[in-house]
């Protein structure tokens, strides 16, 4: 592919940044390549942090992932991007104790997202967040003393941490301020199933209630809920979601609105030769006719590859990326997979299997079209990819 670029910088060394760098080389980019990574180590698989790494089923080394080819790149680790200057094409980076000005003519923004901290100021010892491998290992170490665990927030991280802790036989209370865990992602009907799953597996589920404060003298001893009740706790894991890491882009002139706003090719609005991918990026999705910012491992990797191709192709030849969003979540011995985005669905139907037995596929419809498919039968969810990608008639026909 003919590209005039010769100084590409990738900010972010997670799955999106790494796949972008790989793709640049695979597509024949022969110029300088610099990767700026905030974490100190080589890229690793993040999904196991709330699952197998947390329960000790895999070891730290087991989650590393190596790029699929020699990237021939200058890699800065433990390096934060501080500021982007679009007029002089420089990313200002702090690497250990040095301040560096890294020149670019093409930029991939893959700086990811940061977990929301507890909003009401400092928390006592024993109240932890989960985003990085260090966070995971810190939690895992504390699990050894058999703590009473309170999980705050019933999104995927919270639900998976609750499931992982229960699988270790620990007492777990899950506090969710809406009517149930995963409600925002799965909708009422399916979220009810997952609430049942957690209850059946012994999680003490507290819904429609928030956290008022953490009690404890230096160390957390209890969580006070907004209904006045108090839950004893030795360990609290907070899963309040993430915010896209865009602080360093303030003043850059790029379009920022809950992430870096991109067109359907991954090109960033308000810049030239700048693309974005992963948790930080909000792409225009032609199928859903809206900007989507997904926080899924799989999407981040695919976007990274697509963004790299867009950067090399240039604005006149860049191709639309309209792959269907996909994620999975392992909780207990159930593997949930979702294809598509069920936002604003008006119908949901079981299309295969039996929810009672935890072996089923459900389709979400809107205006008579299939917009998403979710299920637990390992090889049957992805089979509906075409139906979702084409927004086929709802309910979808059973594919082979």
């Amino acid at each position: 592919m003919a590209s005039q670029l010769s100084q590409i910088v990738v900010v972010g060394a997670g799955v999106a940044g790494t796949r972008a760098a790989e793709t640049l080389r695979q597509e024949g980019y022969g110029g300088d390549l610099t990767i700026v990574g905030a974490e100190r180590h080589a890229p690793y698989h993040r999904p196991p942090l709330s699952k197998k790494l947390l329960t000790g089923k895999v070891h730290r080394v087991g989650i590393d992932f190596a790029p699929q080819l020699d990237l021939d790149a200058r890699v800065l680790r433990g390096a934060s991007a501080l500021k982007l200057d679009m007029s002089s094409h420089i990313v200002h980076v702090r690497d250990e104790n040095r301040d560096l000005a890294v020149q670019f003519d093409g930029l991939v923004i893959a700086s990811g997202a940061v977990p929301r901290e507890w909003p009401d100021g400092p928390v006592p010892d024993g109240v932890l967040l989960l985003r990085t491998v260090e966070d995971c290992l810190a939690i895992r170490e504390r699990l050894g003393s058999r703590p009473r665990v309170v999980v705050v927030g019933g999104g995927f991280i919270g639900a998976e941490v609750a499931a992982s802790c229960r699988s270790l036989g620990l007492d777990v209370v899950l506090v969710e301020k809406t009517a149930g865990p995963l409600l925002a992602v799965l909708g009422k009907e399916m979220a009810t199933c997952w609430a049942d799953l957690h209850r059946q597996n012994g999680v003490d589920l507290r819904v429609d209630v928030g956290v008022d404060a953490f009690a404890g003298n230096g160390r957390v001893e209890a969580v006070r809920l907004t209904d006045g009740s108090q839950v004893p706790a030795d360990l609290v894991v907070i899963g309040l979601g993430v915010t896209p890491a865009t602080d360093w882009l303030d003043g850059s002139g790029l379009s920022i609105d809950d992430g870096v706003v991109c067109d359907a090719t991954g090109a960033v609005e308000g810049g030239t030769d700048v693309v974005a991918a992963g948790d930080v990026a909000r792409w225009w999705h032609p199928l859903y006719e809206r900007h989507l910012r997904t926080e899924h491992w799989e999407d981040a990797g695919r976007q990274g590859a697509a963004a790299a191709r867009t950067l090399l192709a240039g604005p006149d030849h860049a191709e639309t990326y309209d792959d269907v969003p996909y994620f999975w979540s392992d909780q207990y011995d159930v593997k949930l997979q979702m294809l598509g985005i069920p936002a604003d669905y008006d119908a949901v139907k079981i299309v295969e299997g039996n929810p009672e037995a935890w072996q089923f596929v459900a389709a979400y419809g809107r205006d008579g079209h299939t917009i998403a498919v979710m299920g637990t039968i390992t090889n049957r969810v992805y089979a509906y990819r075409d139906a979702v990608a084409k927004h086929a008639e709802f309910p979808p026909r059973r594919p082979d």
Binding site: K335, T378, N379, R385
Partner: protein
Amino acid sequence: MKVSVDLDTCNGNGVCMSICHEVFDVREDGLHLLQEEPPKDLRHQLKGAEVSCPTQAITVKD
């Protein structure tokens, strides 16, 4: 064609099986490779499985 799977990385999601059941079989105990050297006419499906694997556990070589 040569197919290999990194079983440490495989998460058993079964995406590959949906795309190419002739070669990939995901059971309760994990992934089974039904053919290590599948015929060339499966190339399209195999490449699809390779790029679609959520954990990039599959390598396909011509």
